[in-house]
């Protein structure tokens, strides 16, 4: 069994599929997330694929602060993902609400709504920083 669980762990680290959700940001972070998928940075090297359906994905990449309107949807997407699932929060907004903090329609950081594994700071963070965040997440998986 030990061999089998090692194999599964290896497979999990080698193929994290992501789904990308903007919970109300300014779109700056989304551009950077998309840039990480383009030829210059190409995260498919790590086996990362962008998936459209939450059922297929392992990692939920959230950008932007959580607004009152998207709160319900964010929770629903999180619940639709199958275990084991992880959350990568990209951008300052996802930590505190950033420049949107205190707005009438803003709930604040993502961690108030769903558990977050890794935060990537920056407004917006560079693609390098996002990849660094992914690598941190994979290191966390290694220790599980």
């Amino acid at each position: 069994m030990a061999v089998l669980s090692k194999l599964v762990k290896w497979a999990r680290i080698k193929s994290p599929w992501i789904i990308h959700y903007n919970s109300g940001g300014c779109n700056g972070c989304d551009i950077e997330v998309v840039a990480a998928l383009t030829p210059r940075f190409d995260v498919e090297r790590f086996g990362i694929l962008l998936k459209g359906s939450p059922r297929h994905a392992d990692v939920l990449v959230v950008t932007g602060p959580v607004t009152r309107q998207t709160k319900k949807r964010l929770v629903r997407i999180y619940n639709q993902m199958s275990d084991p699932k992880f959350v990568l929060a990209v951008g300052t907004c996802t930590m505190t609400g950033g420049v949107f903090r205190g707005g009438y329609g803003v709930v604040a950081g993502v961690d108030e709504v769903i558990p977050v594994d890794v935060f990537v700071p920056g407004c917006p963070p560079k693609p390098e920083a996002i990849i660094h965040g992914v690598v941190k997440l994979l290191e966390k998986l290694q220790k599980l």
Binding site: A11, P39, E44
Partner: protein
Amino acid sequence: METIELLILILKFILFPGALFCIAYGWFLEWFDRKLYARFQNRIGPLLTGPKGVLQPFADFIKLLAKEDITPAGADKFGFTVTPLLTLVVSLFTLLFIPIASLSGILSLSGDLLLVLFISTVFGLLIMFAGYFSGNRFSIVGTERTGLQFVAYEIPFALSVISVALATRSLEIVNIVTYQVNTLKLPLIVIVPVAFIIYLISSLAKLEKIPFDVPEAETEIVAGWQVEYSGKKLAFFRLATDLKMVFVSGLAVALFLGGPYGPSIPGLEPVFYTIWFIIKTLVVMFILSNLRSLFARYRIDQVVRGFWKYLIPFAVLQILAVQLLIFLGVI
């Protein structure tokens, strides 16, 4: 003696040209396809999983197997569970007819070309069921599109195969291969080039690869018919797609490129034939990946119209040309 023969047959089914080899080769083809696709887009593609990322599809498969398997409340429980398994079994079954290590497949009956055509039609039907049973609005749209696309590509696919059957005057895959090896001494692509092109285009639609990935168009309907499938079921579907890739390229090799035949050392034929099979299927996959990265997705009406307006007339013309050649006594 009898038991030894039986044992060898069972080993053939399970190990060498049978299930295990085909699954491993399917994963290899998926990696080859992804890597080429990435290179055409000036990316690097899978790199860190095994040497050059060869183990990427294997890692994906294991990961999906170990994930939670969700059955949505709106789904038809029985159909939702059975369809992925059935898809996998059907696509493995078709591979038994493809000649890999010798001039005939593991199974070979008279008229097996028709049987293989029929079973490959079941792929499309199973995909429709898969979408229908999951009871999601996106997958219903995907199902409808699968049905429409099915109407579009199945006929040119069959017509292109029929022109091969006419040229060789046989419905048996073994005979078609031996005809090319012994009688014609040339691959059939020389005689029916148009049929080969039509075969490739309609097999792209069969595999739901990019210009024809309308049923699972990510940007429009999330993931189409497979939107609700997670964990093991998704793993089975992906494996079935890889096996279909082996099937489509293997059938192309058998029908148009002279089968697994090639120069070899007498006595070592199975080894050399396998190597030739791999080389030829890789060539076919290379063409398919090229097409995949060259074109953008068509709309569903464009797909249907294109297949009916352009491919079917050409396929019929090809059949007439074969008849003419037969009439003139060239083949």
